[in-house]
Amino acid sequence: MKRFITLALLAVWMVLPGWAQHEHQPRPSPTEAPAIYWVLVALAVVAIVGFMLWTLYGKMRPGRMTTLSYHALGALVIIMTLFTLVLYVIPAQQAQQLPATARAWDWKPGEILQDPAGSGLSGEPYRGYLVYLANGCTYCHTLYLRPEDLKTGWAEGARPNEVSQMGDFVRYPFTMLGTQRDGPDLTVIGRKIPDMQYQIDHLVDPRRFKPKSVMPSYRYLSERDLRDLAAYLVSLGNDPQKLRAGVAPTPKPTEDPKIAKGRELYRSLGCVGCHSLDGSPNVGPSFKGLWEREVEVVLPDGTTTRVIADGAYIRESITQASAKVVKGFPNVMPSFAERVTESDLDALVEYIKSLR
C-alpha cells in the first residue's frame, strides 16, 4: 500500500509542473514532432513502468547471471547513452541545415569591417569572434533574444523583429549562446552602438562609461585583438550587406565645427553607449528628434512633469542627470559636470539640435 502511495505522489510530482507550464509557457504551440517520436515515447513509458514493477515485485534469483549476461548489461549501458545521443544528433543535423535569415551573422575569415562610425578603424569580425571565445565573454553575455526579453530588463532597446530565430545562427562555425547573464545580451549590440572606438574604449575601461558596471577590464588584449573584437561586436544585429557597403553617413565637409566637436564628444564621453542616433531606445532615450520635443520626466521626489527638451534641459541633464529623468528610463546616468567645459556643453547641444 505504502508503495502505491509513493508512486501516486511521484506521478503528481511529475504532472503538476507540466500542468503549470501551459499558463506560463512563453513560446506558444509546440512544433510538431515526427510521429516516430511519439511511438518511441509510448514505448519508453511502457518499458519504464514495466521495469519499475519488475524491480519492485518481480522474482529475482541471485547467482543466475552468466558472464555473458554481465557483458550484455554492460553493453546496454553504452547503448542507452548512445540512444539519447542520437535523439540529440537528429535535430542538431536538421538545425544546421536550416536556411539562414537575412540578418544572420555572415563574416568569413579574413574579411575586414570598416568602422561604421567613420573613425577609420577596421577589424576582422570572424577573428573577433574567436577573441570573444578565448576570453570567456560568453560566461556573462548571451547571444540570443527571447520573445519575453522585450518585456523584461534583459535587453534594453531590442526590437520585436530582432527576437532570435533558428536561422540566425546557421553560419556560425560554433555557437556561444550563453547560459548566464551578468551583463546585457549582445545580440543587437552592434545595431545599438555602431562605433568601434567606443567598443574598444569600453573594453579597456568599462566603468568610464557605465559607472555601475561590474565588467572586468580587457586592457591586456593586444591592439589587434581589441580591434577585431570591436569589429565583431559592431557587426552584431546589423545587416551584413549594409555594413559591408558602409552604413555610416559621411559627415558633410561644410559642417559647423561645433557640431563636429559635439559628434566627437558624443563618442569620447561615451554617450553612444546609451543614447542611439536612429530613434531606438537603449538604456537612455535616443537623441534623434529629441530637440525641442516635449518629454515627460520624473523628478527626484517621484512626481512627473512635462518639459521641453531645449538647451537648458539638455545642459542640466548632462551635468545633473538625476534631476529630471525621462519617464520609462532608469535613473543610472552619471554626472558629467566635472568632465565637460562650457564650450563642450554648447557643442553637445548644437550636435543634438542637428539630429532633428
Partner: protein, 475 residues
Amino acid sequence: MQEREKQAVKLWFFSSLVWLALGPLIGALMSLQFLWPDALNFLADLNLSYSKARIFHTNLVIYGWIAMSFVAAILFIIPKLCDVELQHARVAYWAGWLWNLSVALDLALIWAGIVGDPLLSIQPYEYAEAPLLVDLLIVIAAVMIIFSVHRTVLARKRPHLYVSVWYLLGGLYTTAITYLVGNFLTLAFTGLGNQIIHAWWLHNAVGMFITPLGIGIAYYLIPIAAQQPIYSHRLSILGFWTLMAFYPGTGLHHFLQMPMPTWIGEFSVISSVLLIIPVLAVVVNHLATPAQNWRRVFDSFPLRFSVFGTVYYLLTCIQGTFQTTHAVNWFVHFTEWVQAHAHLALTGAFTCYGMAALIYIFPRVTGRQLYSRTLVSWVFWIMAVVFPLFYLAFTHSGLVTGVSVNLLNHTIYETISAVWLARFFRTLMGAGVVLGFLLFGYLIVRSLRVGPRFEEGTNEVAEPAPAPATRRVTV
C-alpha cells in the same frame, strides 16, 4: 594492498588535494568582481580577467578535485570489491601524472588565450574548455584508467558484482562517451546544431560523469562505514538503470528558451523530471542503510560526510527537477540561482562524497590515522553550516535578479545594486567554505607526519587521548 597499488592511489589522492585548495580559492577571489570590480583590475596586468578565472575555477574543481579524488577512490574500491589486486597499477599511476599534466596545461592555455589555433585555443563549451591538445591527453589518461579498472573487474575472484562496481565501471564508460561527445563530436556541428550537441555534453558532464562515480563511491562507503548491509538491492538496481535511462537526455533543459524545435526541449524536461526516480531510489538506500545503526554517524566521519552528501544530493535533485520545468525556468534562467544549484551539487553533494572517500582511504594507504578529531569536526561543520549559508546567499542573489529583471523590468545596471548585499554575503560565506577546504588539506598533510598508527578496525580519525580500546570495532 601492494606497494604499487598504494602508490597509484596516493598520487591521485594527493593531487586532488592540491587542486581542491586552488580551485575554490580562485572562485572566492573572482566573486569580488561583483562587489568591488576595480579591486580586481590588477588581474589585467597578469593577462587575466574574471571570465578567464571562471574557466580556471570550473575546470580545476571538476577535472582537478572531483575527478582526481573520485579516481583515487575507484582505484581503492574496485580491487576491494573484486577481491583481487589492482591490475596494471603502474598504468594507473602514470595516468595520474598525465592527468595532472593535462590539468596544468589546460590552465596554462586558458591563461594564454591563444586565438584561432585548432590545437591550442580553448573550446567554446562550458566545462569542456580544454583545448584539443589537452583533450587528447585527458582521453589517453582516461583510457589508461579504464583499462586498469576493467582488467581488475575481469580478473575478479568474487563472481558477484556489487552495485558500486556497476556504478563505477558504468560511470567510467559513460564518462568516456560524454567526454568524447563534448570535446570532439561538437566539432562536427555548426550553428544551432552545435549548441544542441553542446547541451548534451553540458549536463552529462555532471550526470554521466560525476554522478555515477560519486554515487558508486557512496554505495561503497555507507554500508561499510555503517556496518550494515545495504537496505535494498532491488532499489539499487532500479536506481542504476533509471539513471542510465533518464540522465543522458536532460541536457537541453539548459537552453529551453533558445529558438529550437520545442519537442526536443520537452523531451529533456520529461527526462529531467523522471530523474526523481533514480534519485529517490539512491537516497532511500543511502539513508535507510545507516538508519539501523545511527550511532555510527557520530563515530565514523566517512559515514557522516557521505550521509550529508546524500542529503545535499537529494536537495540538489529535487531543486533540479523543479527548475527544469518551463514555469520555473523562465524565471530563474540567466540568474545565479542556477550557479547556486551547481554549487549545491558539486560543493555540497560530491565534495562531501570525495572528502568521505579521502578520509576513509587515507589511513588505509598511509597506515596513519587522521590526527585531529577537532579539525575534522570543524571541516564537517563548515560543510554543514557555512556551506548552506553560502548556498542561500547565492540563491537569494539569483532570486532578486529574477524579480528585478523579469518582473520589475529593471535593467541589469540597476539590478547590480539590488543584489550587492546578497553577493557580499555569498563571498563572505564562500570564503568560509574555502577555509574549510584548506583546513581539510592541512589536516591530511599534517596527519602524514603526526597521525598515530592505523590498524584495520580502528577509527579513521584518532580518538582524543587516552584512546579508549572499547571503541575498536571490526569491519
